[in-house]
Amino acid sequence: MSSLANVIDASAPTPAVPSLAAWLRRWLPQRSLIGFALPAAILLLWQLAAWRGWVDKVFLPEPVSVLEAFWKMLTTQDLAVDFLASIRIVSQGFLYGAAAAVGLGILAGLSQRFEQFLSPTFDTIRHIPGIAWLPLIVLWLGLGAPAKVLVIAKSVFFPVFLNTLQGIRNVDKSYIELSRVMTLTRWQLVRKIILPAAMPNIMVSLRYAAGLAWALVVVAEGLSGLEGLGFLIFRAQGLLLTDQLLVCMVIIGGVGFLIDRGMYLLQRRVLRWKQGYEG
């Protein structure tokens, strides 16, 4: 038996060139730092492209000038005002849409008749994208914030509604039986069993909808806005201020990242009881 093991050991070739994984493991020992490797590499490449003049400065200004533009926008051009305008719109749109979706989702989940009542209407409206609604809603409500809030709320509503409904439909029947044995009232059943059981679905859809809402606010502002980050982007495009354009994009990406991370942490907190496949 030992001689066979020796043969197998001897025949395994020692790699002459270390694998990428081994290289990464050596230079980035901490697992959490590995996420910084790619952005750092991109930044380096970008700076290099600007120095060497590979790309015209109009198309891709160097990182330093982007930072300068950021400072200029922040101090002299009320970047904070536009930023807060976007944040306010996305928060309102998300909150209204999500609250309505979870509320109606629960009602539809508890009553098949209510679900059937809503279903054909919802399934039709759902397929018209929020952006297609924007012109009509702007016609009704004007170019200001309410129109954008409504469009965002509508786009947030449907994924969250569907997931809430599905989450409730997925509740294990054995838990329903348990509630009957415990003689729980309908309200107790909803609060203690149905809602928590549906929570994973609801949380995931909220996280998705939050990202969606943020992306939408930029488009909505770009199409029909007078303020906000989306408006700034299109203005920068019109004036060929690529550095300002990049500032807005970086901010949008950064906020989107923070929103997603924030929702993820919220999800982890709410669902801390859940034991799933950790990978």
Binding site: S174, Y175, E177, T183, L184, P196, W273, K274, Q275
Partner: protein
């Protein structure tokens, strides 16, 4: 604790009519009595209707012919005076152990302080002190099932029904929990009705074993277990009772060295 009543099952029958198939007689004329404070087992092969009978007694199912009487009144629906422990522990994953057990008191109307005290007592009863704040996924199978037993007993029911509660556990845990169950029964004095396919378990735990058979689901025999406590699983009397029960179930155990009967 409510004065435990006498459970009377009188000529209970239940059948299902499925489209295109002959009528399925799940239960046919089942009758027996359970004295208050006793431990009764229902034993039988698959399809004999023992689980159905249990569900009828706990009130999850209300359609049947015949009568099931507790304190002389016909049972109608579920009640906190009849608890049940299922084969899966069915502890809610989003609640801690003590919250899960407290769920059994959600509709009791007791004060918060009384509820907390009772929950604590029952956690001690099943030997899970220290795990009050644990979530179900942090507990082993045996521990979770003990939690389910605590939940079944926390509302101090007159009858605790157990539907193959130890079936999902490994053999060693099962033996340990059987002894736990017996201890809990002696301490609480609650009537226990156990459904199991494990004849050893039935003889070890019960005062009376009700043997059932399938096609149609019916009661074949009632056997009083008059073994002294503590019960010796390998005594000749134990083996004799086991042979009797298996024979009633229609399973003929092999005599050592003999050929199988035709």
């Amino acid at each position: 604790m409510a004065e435990p009543g006498r459970l009377e099952v009188q000529a209970v029958s239940k059948s299902y009519a499925l489209a295109g198939r002959p009528r399925l007689d799940v239960l046919s004329g089942a009758s027996f009595t359970v004295e208050p404070g006793s431990f009764v087992s229902l034993v039988g092969p698959s399809g004999c209707g023992k689980s159905t009978l249990l569900r009828l007694i706990v009130g999850l199912d209300t359609e049947y012919q015949g009568n099931i009487l507790l304190h002389g009144e016909r049972i109608a629906g579920t009640s906190l005076s009849r608890g049940i422990v299922f084969q899966e522990h069915r502890l809610l994953p989003w609640l801690t152990l003590e919250q899960n057990i407290a769920l059994g008191l959600a509709n009791s109307g007791w004060s918060a302080e009384h509820q907390a005290r009772t929950v604590r007592e029952h956690i001690a009863l099943v030997g899970l002190q220290g795990f009050e704040r644990s979530y179900p996924h942090e507990l082993s199978g045996g521990m979770a099932q003990r939690g389910a037993i605590a939940r079944g007993l926390v509302s101090q029911p007159e009858i605790l029904l157990l539907d193959e509660p130890l079936g999902a556990l490994d053999a060693l845990t099962r033996v340990r929990l059987q002894e736990e169950l017996q201890r809990i029964w002696r301490v609480e004095g609650v009537t226990m009705i156990l459904v199991t396919h494990d004849v050893d378990e039935a003889i070890f735990l019960s005062d009376k074993v009700i043997v059932m058979n399938a096609k149609p689901g019916r009661i074949v025999r009632e056997i009083d277990i008059d073994l002294p406590a503590p019960r010796d699983r390998v005594s000749p009397e134990f083996a004799r009772l086991k042979r009797e029960i298996l024979a009633s179930m229609g399973e003929q155990p092999q005599e050592a060295g003999a050929l199988a009967p035709a």
